[in-house]
Symmetry: none
Subunit: 208 residues, 4 copies
Amino acid sequence: MGLTGDTQQRELPTTARGIRTRNKLLQAARVVFERDGYLDARLIDITTEAGVSAGSFYTYFDGKEEIFAAVLAEVGEEMLHPEVHDMVDADDPVAVIRASNRAYLEMYRKHAKFMQLLHEVSSIDERFRKLRRQRAQAFVERNARSIQDLQNRGVATSDVDSRLASSILSGMVSRAAYSKFVVGEDWDFETLVETVTRLWINALDMST
Amino acid sequence: MGLTGDTQQRELPTTARGIRTRNKLLQAARVVFERDGYLDARLIDITTEAGVSAGSFYTYFDGKEEIFAAVLAEVGEEMLHPEVHDMVDADDPVAVIRASNRAYLEMYRKHAKFMQLLHEVSSIDERFRKLRRQRAQAFVERNARSIQDLQNRGVATSDVDSRLASSILSGMVSRAAYSKFVVGEDWDFETLVETVTRLWINALDMST
Amino acid sequence: MGLTGDTQQRELPTTARGIRTRNKLLQAARVVFERDGYLDARLIDITTEAGVSAGSFYTYFDGKEEIFAAVLAEVGEEMLHPEVHDMVDADDPVAVIRASNRAYLEMYRKHAKFMQLLHEVSSIDERFRKLRRQRAQAFVERNARSIQDLQNRGVATSDVDSRLASSILSGMVSRAAYSKFVVGEDWDFETLVETVTRLWINALDMST
Amino acid sequence: MGLTGDTQQRELPTTARGIRTRNKLLQAARVVFERDGYLDARLIDITTEAGVSAGSFYTYFDGKEEIFAAVLAEVGEEMLHPEVHDMVDADDPVAVIRASNRAYLEMYRKHAKFMQLLHEVSSIDERFRKLRRQRAQAFVERNARSIQDLQNRGVATSDVDSRLASSILSGMVSRAAYSKFVVGEDWDFETLVETVTRLWINALDMST
DNA sequence: CATGAATGAGTGTTCATTCAT
DNA sequence: TATGAATGAACACTCATTCAT
């Protein structure tokens, strides 16, 4: 399963020149999208930024949506490979949750401009809304498994459905990240990590 | 002072006919916005829906933004006056939180189309982003006061900052509402109310 | 012969109130035309300035052209009655010419804004171009008679046709006035009077 | 530096086709402007006349003003290179002045429609008013030098300031040309040339 | 006579997309 | 493959004019 969904519209170029041009467009698109936002980005800005002619665009992409999907796929790759900072004791559930939240928030910080973009596009285009949900789902499911495991081991409360709780708590962290890095709430990063972690742990009644 | 901020754009009409026409436009705008979304809504659709000429629009509003602001102000009024379903025991903190969450989720359900619209517009227009944050802030602050009060009374944990916790938990509920009513997650309403309430209560260590 | 030509479109109001309203519109029109120019003046600006409703305009005038014609007629009256500053010796042809030029230039100075307006309108509307020419013609003809007289008396050269010379010399003074008062050439007023007078006199070979 | 002042608005096209299209637009604009006047000329008329689509206009010009400036620059070039009809004896000042006046009047006759257009635009648009004044200034200055020279040589009277006299007399000729070719005064061309020349010469007291 | 709301024709401008070279 | 000129649909906005009250 890829991030592009069914968006791979045109076959990839075979010649070296073609590959180069496509990449130039892709890089340029990312620059322009992050600078101007999705709606305000004009294809001509992208081609100009890429240093290619307007017509060349259509050799590689069918339109704005398609190149955005391609950028999304590319950035998505980056985002899925977080730099692991420190090893955590896998047997310490709190440490694992803290590390997970920290990784998410760091990823968000690093890609804040892009996350805002994703947000913009999601609110406009149904297709990207679905894509975004799919991406989030991976995170949600991993957390759901973790919660289920903790419940099985009697560490977390069984009062809540693991999947629903995961969705809600994952959403909580995601929304907090949005508030800090897009809306610009003036919160200290470390305090934020600690607070979401504590709320998460408490919410599952793991504190004792 | 209302939700419009500095959006009071044209003096309100004085004659009965003028007021009637302005209202027709306002109702029509709401219908069209909720049906087509902000971006796809054309002024001509609004005037047609209202049964007035294209030119008449400008007698009352300066453009799409302005009429949207006016619709927002109107709907905002509605949203701020929830029908109170049942009295809750003000001395039972859990009951109060449950009632608050239920009221929010019911408001969101009732105005789902509009909330989605607000979401769309916020991601597009800086001005509405601010307006939306202001609105959210009211909710956040009320909850912050409540949390602080519970902390003072030793009912809730003092491990977290009341304002930050309020922001995060309020965001959690808001995001959950978005997931259910806009994204369309297939969650049972009552279960959702119970789950967010439980997670909230646990998060503040109020369970015991 | 009036300045309005065939522009008297609507019969004058009979009631006192009607006369008052018409005058308010006329004054307002003059203010707005001189402030904004003919093209940029909107009827609504005129009615607003006059403190009457938009609809009332059509009770008295058929449109922008018509009210401009009315303003023109009014101002034309003013312009034709110059304040005579000093008596000149009618037997001294140079003094007469100087007085005539001075009177013209003073009139132009006093009505500079209006003359510019007239200029604007003339270049736009054929009808006003004719009107303006008619007005100028009065000046030209008076000068032509004067020149003819001087020629008859042997004071001015008979090398030139009196009517043609009058047109050209009158045009010279008119253009000089335009250059000073509309274009804004930085010329001393008295020097200008003297210079045009001297050139005029010399041109007719009257110096000796 | 040319007549366009700071009006060089879009980079000139590089390809042959681009140059051709731009020229088609330019020619069409001139036709339409001279036919309909500046105000009544619609861009769509220009593109239709040029045989290109409405959108193509904006590939080369930013709007009506800009294409007019371009037309003006082009026609200005033409106008500045008069066909010299006959050599005049440079030592005969009267012959030189006559030749200059004739050249001016012939230029005006040849470009009457355009001069009227320039007149219209000048009365509407500040920017073109300045441009027109600049153009006139060149003519004025040349004449001022000539007058100064004649004064130095004792051929012309020193009673008048050479620059002011030049402005006024140049304006006289210009206004006469306007009266004949735009207003339509029924004057014989040769008589006009002779009369303005004689008045000019007399005005400077050069007759003896 | 006065009001002011309602009308609707008219046009400039943008920009994704195509296609001849 | 690359170019960049050409296309044309689409829509907001203004304002003179009308007319019911």
